[in-house]
């Protein structure tokens, strides 16, 4: 029993082998050697993450369609949206930066939201999602590159820089990005990969041993 691998957990930071213990809701287990978080007991993980993700997906569309801010000059008003900014950087022969922004601010968050939905919606209705390993792996690899919260700070800094010389009107997308940042943080906090794997194992009706 003591050596049964599926009940053991190895710290991802220091490789210390430890036995899993049941946790109270909202608590987390830390590695006894290096202090890194091993796993959390996220309450009602799948339902909550799904709710945050669905709301996030709606806001993501709004944030990308509407202008982030508009500038008024001599009665003319011009709005700037994220994709437009990426495009104009591309037109200035700054293709690499333009691509970097496109990937980190638009593509990766979209991929994250889509993978999350493809994974959690079927699970919610008691089915095993097709190609779930692909989605789980994608979520893990892509996670460090999604930078909506940094983008939000970037928007605020640019607003301050612009108000020195222009009349700037905040757009709908600005508020959407702010809410999207909160929702993505909430989704990340309630998502527990460990719970999803456990649920997948149960749905497949197979116990993984060795």
């Amino acid at each position: 029993m003591a050596d049964h691998p599926s009940q053991l957990i190895a710290c991802q930071y220091c490789d210390l082998l430890q036995r899993e213990i049941p946790l109270n809701p909202g608590c987390s287990a830390s590695c006894s050697r290096c202090g890194a978080v091993l796993y959390r007991n996220a309450t009602d993980s799948i339902n909550r993450t799904l709710a945050y993700t669905l709301a996030g997906a709606v806001l993501f569309v709004v944030a990308n369609v509407f202008p982030i801010f508009s500038i008024e000059m001599q009665g003319d008003r011009a709005g700037i949206n994220l994709y437009g900014a990426v495009r104009s950087l591309w037109d200035q022969q700054m293709e690499s930066i333009s691509l970097l922004v496109l990937i980190t601010a638009i593509l990766v968050p979209a991929i994250e939201l889509i993978s999350m939905l493809c994974l959690l919606l079927p699970l919610k209705f008691g089915r095993v999602p097709a190609g779930y390993t692909v989605f789980m792996r994608t979520l893990q690899y892509v996670e460090p590159w999604g930078m909506v919260e940094v983008l939000l700070l970037g928007v605020l800094v640019s607003l301050v820089k612009l108000t020195n010389s222009f009349k700037v009107i905040p757009g709908i997308a600005l508020w959407s990005f702010a809410l999207l940042t909160l929702l993505l943080a909430a989704a990340a906090a309630s998502f527990s990969a460990r719970d999803v794997w456990a649920r997948l194992d149960r749905e497949k009706g197979t116990r993984v041993s060795r």
Binding site: A10, Q92, V157
Partner: protein, 212 residues
């Protein structure tokens, strides 16, 4: 655990980097796959130190043009200026936006520098099989992982301001070559941090007593 640290590697067990499942490690049987998710299993990230060094050295080299070259040109009727990262921060400070100046200074100057130094320290200590403060070094690594993304701030600011050209000839903002180098430094240091395997910090302690 009674003071004796047992690692997965010490028991011939390997934890999957995708799903964290601990499974038995058979080195002779060729490439091993996780029984649950099918990912290739590795005891430690392959070639971790060499890859991390390569990316880090590239980042060091690009750090020079990133700081010396112009990242943004701003022009309007009254003024025309070319800013590097540091001169941009100084300009913000002088025009009275202290808060923003501090935020940009931390994100664009302090964080990249700390990342380069921290990763160098981690790599050197791991290569020398140092036993010096493993807990603090692990924490340092986690901080590097967590904080690295915020350096992208300046890239986003340049992107959003560059969109002003859509407004015609009144004001122009152009991204400069420094932005490309700076973006590359951010990406390279993030990749370097991903290649580093923090378990290497603890490996010199294997099969040894650890006094809390």
């Amino acid at each position: 655990m009674s003071g004796k640290a047992v690692t997965a590697a010490g028991r011939d067990l390997c934890s999957c980097h995708v799903c964290n499942l601990v499974s038995r490690w058979q080195p002779s049987a060729g490439p091993a796959y996780c029984p649950r998710c099918g990912a290739t299993l590795h005891m430690r990230k392959p070639g971790s130190v060499a890859r991390c060094w390569a990316l880090l050295i590239a980042a060091y080299i690009l750090y020079v043009p990133a700081n010396l070259l112009v990242i943004m040109e701003t022009g309007s009727f009254i003024s025309y200026r070319k800013d590097t990262i540091v001169s941009g921060v100084v300009h913000l400070w002088q025009t009275g936006s202290w808060m923003i100046a501090v935020i940009v200074f931390i994100a664009s100057v302090i964080i990249p520098l700390l990342k380069l130094i921290s990763l160098t320290l981690l790599l050197v200590s791991v290569q020398r099989r140092s036993r010096w403060r493993p807990k603090q070094r692990t924490r340092l690594y986690r901080m590097v992982e967590l904080v690295g993304r915020w350096s992208m701030l300046d890239i986003y600011v340049v992107t959003l301001l560059a969109a002003l050209v859509q407004l015609g000839s009144m004001a122009t903002v152009k991204a400069g070559p420094g932005a490309v180098a700076f973006g590359a430094v951010v990406v390279l240091t993030m990749l370097a941090a991903m290649q580093f395997d923090p378990r290497l910090i603890w490996d010199p302690f294997q099969n040894e007593e650890i006094n809390d």
